[in-house]
């Protein structure tokens, strides 16, 4: 029995190496945009940064705090009909 899957996994490791280079490129592009943005709103940004557990991003102030999320998302409702059949 010959397993072809080994060949396929080679492709997956290539994906990982591409991913690392891509992350660096993307971060450089984004850094340029963020620098100019930071100059315009530096003071406000610092306040947010101080309140953030991970720095630099106000989104995670809420999205790492289950209690805050519960407070803000309590109105969310389902968009699936009760009559809907199960998955395929």
């Amino acid at each position: 029995m010959t397993i072809r899957r080994g060949d396929r996994q080679c492709g997956r490791s290539q994906i990982h190496s591409t991913e690392s280079e891509g992350v660096i490129l993307m971060k450089l592009n984004r850094l340029e945009i963020r620098l100019s943005r930071a100059l315009l709103g530096a003071a406000f940004f610092c306040v947010l940064q101080a309140g953030s557990a991970h720095g630099g991003d106000s989104c995670i102030t809420c999205h790492t705090d289950e209690d805050l999320l519960e407070e803000f998302s309590s109105q969310a409702g389902s968009k699936t009909s009760a009559l809907q059949a199960g998955s395929g």
């Binding site: 010959t2 591409t18 891509g22 963020r34 989104c59 790492t64 519960e70 968009k79 998955s87």
Partner: protein, 640 residues
């Protein structure tokens, strides 16, 4: 799968920030405004599904090669599905059919996020693991969250025994369906998913079967689709209909499903898959599926069969149909007959059905299976006809083990509702030291008596699932009930036999249940632990295999996993979907195949003792002399 709470859906874990994706800012992929100090401002321009709406920018900067093809992949486009509908429609009806398709069927599509970070849209969304991306999709929360009622249930054993690739080799979905297949662009006009060049094929791994040591491979290779010999029964769907509910939300329903197996002439022969015989599954297409939008939307309905080549995901090396040549050869019921077709689909399946003289003839010399059914306690199974004849007998008590709502909607006349999952006085509470274990004898006796049951009554139990009836029967067996039976087929079997239902709750008098508990039927976790290495004691885990393989856990369990050395045999392997019991001969053969032998002590375990009790009842019914219930089961084992 229970949906996540809204806050759980979008809760980012600390682990995420240690990953490559965690190094990016949220707005890099999702847009929005990370300078805002309120929810509305922060979500201005926010895209919750960037991989669907803008994969090139959100994912393509890093995963360039993948994003080139994924938007044309079958998961993203479902392109073969409208292709089939378009064949059946014509130019005058297509626009309305396609409108219905886009409202009801297109939400099943997914993209990068639905396989690598979140539950897919169809499964209610929400992060699988705190927004941590995984190169391999989660088979429970992602793959089978969509591919659930067929593939998921088959693979994990919610129908049948589950799949050998999982049980023996711990393989997940991506082992056969790797990224190269999932990310592949589907060519324009692709006939169906099997025609995708990158599609999984058994022979990718199992090569050169004609040169192997298995005689039957040499005989059947390239003539018979692998699944004909190696799959188990599977679900077939009929009568898909679409509509809009009172709140204007689009839905579809399948009005009829059944578990079974049909072999027919392969309707989809092409190079590499040119088998003459194939496993066929009834697909839920119906001439009236889009009647909500257009009547007679499919003037060319007959252009494609409704019984399609199928690939059930419940593969076993040894199955009932390959156990013996004549379990397949000459078996009329196993082959699709014209009489199996409904009126609207007779023309559509021309060339797929098998006439009597086309069925492979029985072989004259076959190996006997040597299954001894003489110990099967046939009195523990009653038919609907028997119950109808005896339901008014003074000594017969009928128990409906379904939930209250189902009972009130219609039950067998005279049946008393005793739902063992909800009734108090059968099992301990969640706050007890050993939650959900059997109550003490006195409490059990009082409870059973309150429901009008005496130990010497003939107690017949039914449900809509064999496992629920079996659970109650296991408790009654422990309590020493003299005569207990399961109604074969449960409520479905009763209806199928043409008998009426009642909405009237019967009056009954309390009785005294003189308990004579069979203490030897129950073992605790200490016993199981002490016998883990004892070859004379076999622990059988009857849970679904996403739990017994550690991919998911019961909500009350501390952690996923299973008892070391336990044999996995999901309880649904013993019942058909509609709660008919599979033939005792087949069940005894399955147990023998798993080395669950009657000359050993068999300990049955599950999550809470519920399915294990049903398993104990079934094994005792099949004549196993020494079967024990591990009623502490996994939720208490994890505390050890």
């Amino acid at each position: 799968m229970a949906p996540l709470e809204p806050q759980q859906k979008v809760l980012v874990s600390d682990e995420f920030f240690d990953t490559d994706h965690g190094e990016l800012d949220c707005v890099d992929c999702h847009g929005g405004n990370d300078d805002a100090d309120d929810k509305e401002g922060a979500h201005q321009g926010f895209d919750p599904q960037p991989s669907i709406n803008n994969p090139q920018e959100a994912c393509g900067e890093c995963h360039e090669e993948i994003v080139e093809t994924v938007p044309q992949s079958l998961h993203a486009t479902l392109s073969t599905f409208p292709g089939y509908l378009a064949k059946r429609a014509d130019e005058t009806t297509w626009d309305k059919v396609d409108h219905g398709r886009s409202r009801h069927c297109a939400s099943c599509h997914t993209s990068c996020g639905g396989c690598h970070v979140s539950r897919p849209q169809y499964a209610g969304k929400g992060f699988v693991n705190g927004h941590v991306f995984s190169a391999k999709p989660d088979p429970v929360n992602q793959c089978t969250a969509c591919h659930g009622s067929r593939i998921g249930n088959e693979f994990f054993g919610a129908r049948g025994q589950g799949d050998v690739h999982l049980r023996e080799y711990n393989m997940s979905c991506e082992a056969c369906h790797p990224a190269e297949e999932m990310h592949a662009a589907a060519p324009q006009g692709l006939e169906n998913r099997y025609h995708l060049q990158e599609a999984a094929n058994c022979k990718d791994c199992h090569r050169d079967l004609q040169y192997g040591s298995v005689r039957d491979h040499r005989i059947h290779n390239n003539k018979v689709q692998c699944q004909v010999c190696h799959s188990q029964t599977y679900v077939n769907c009929y009568s898909c209909h679409t509509g809009t509910d009172d709140e204007g939300i689009a839905y579809f329903v399948n009005n009829y499903e059944f578990e079974g197996m049909k072999i027919g002439f392969n309707p989809d022969r092409f190079p590499g898959n040119n088998y003459e015989w194939a496993i066929l599954r009834h697909v839920p297409v119906d001439p009236e599926v889009f009647d909500y939008y257009i009547k007679n939307g499919f003037p060319r309905f007959d252009v494609s069969p409704t019984w399609k080549r199928a690939s059930p995901h419940n593969i076993q090396r040894r199955t009932w149909q390959n156990a013996n040549c004549n379990n397949c050869h000459g078996q009329r019921d196993l082959f699709l007959a014209e009489s199996d077709l409904l009126d609207y689909e007779k023309k559509a399946n021309f060339g797929v059905t098998v006439t009597d003289d086309q069925i492979p003839p029985p072989r004259s010399r076959v190996m006997e299976l040597g299954i001894d059914t003489s110990k099967v306690q046939t009195a523990k199974i009653v038919t609907a006809e028997w119950l109808d004849e005896h339901r008014s007998d003074d000594t017969v008590v009928i128990l409906d083990a379904r939930g209250e709502t189902a009972y009130e909607a219609g039950h067998i006349p005279g049946a008393i509702n005793l739902d063992p999952n909800a009734a108090e006085g059968l099992r301990t509470g969640l706050d007890d030291d050993l939650p959900l274990t059997l109550e003490d004898d006195q409490t059990l006796a009082e409870t059973l008596g309150e429901y009008g049951i005496a130990r010497d009554d003939h107690i017949v139990v039914y449900s809509d699932r064999g496992m629920d009836a079996g659970f109650l029967l296991g408790i009654l067996d422990y309590a020493g009930a003299d005569s207990i039976s399961i109604l074969n087929g449960g409520i479905a079997g009763w209806k199928e036999a043409g008998f009426e239902l009642s909405e009237e709750e019967p009056d009954w008098d309390e009785k005294t249940f003189e308990i004579k508990s069979r203490k030897n039927l129950i073992v605790d976790s200490d016993y199981v632990k002490a016998n883990l290495d004892n070859p004379e004691v076999v622990v059988v885990d009857v849970r679904v295999m996403q739990q017994s393989t550690g991919r998911a856990k019961h909500s009350l369990a501390e952690r996923p996993g299973r008892i070391p050395g336990s044999v996995m045999l999901p309880l649904p392997a013993l019942f058909m979907d509609d709660s008919f019991i599979k033939s005792p001969e087949e069940l005894l053969w399955v147990l023998k195949e798993r080395n669950i032998r009657p000359d050993r002590t068999i300990v049955v375990t599950c999550n809470t003792g519920n399915w294990a009790a049903a398993g104990m009842f079934m094994l005792r019914l099949l004549g196993y002399p020494d079967v024990r219930l591990h009623d502490e089961s996994w939720i208490n084992w994890t505390d050890l």
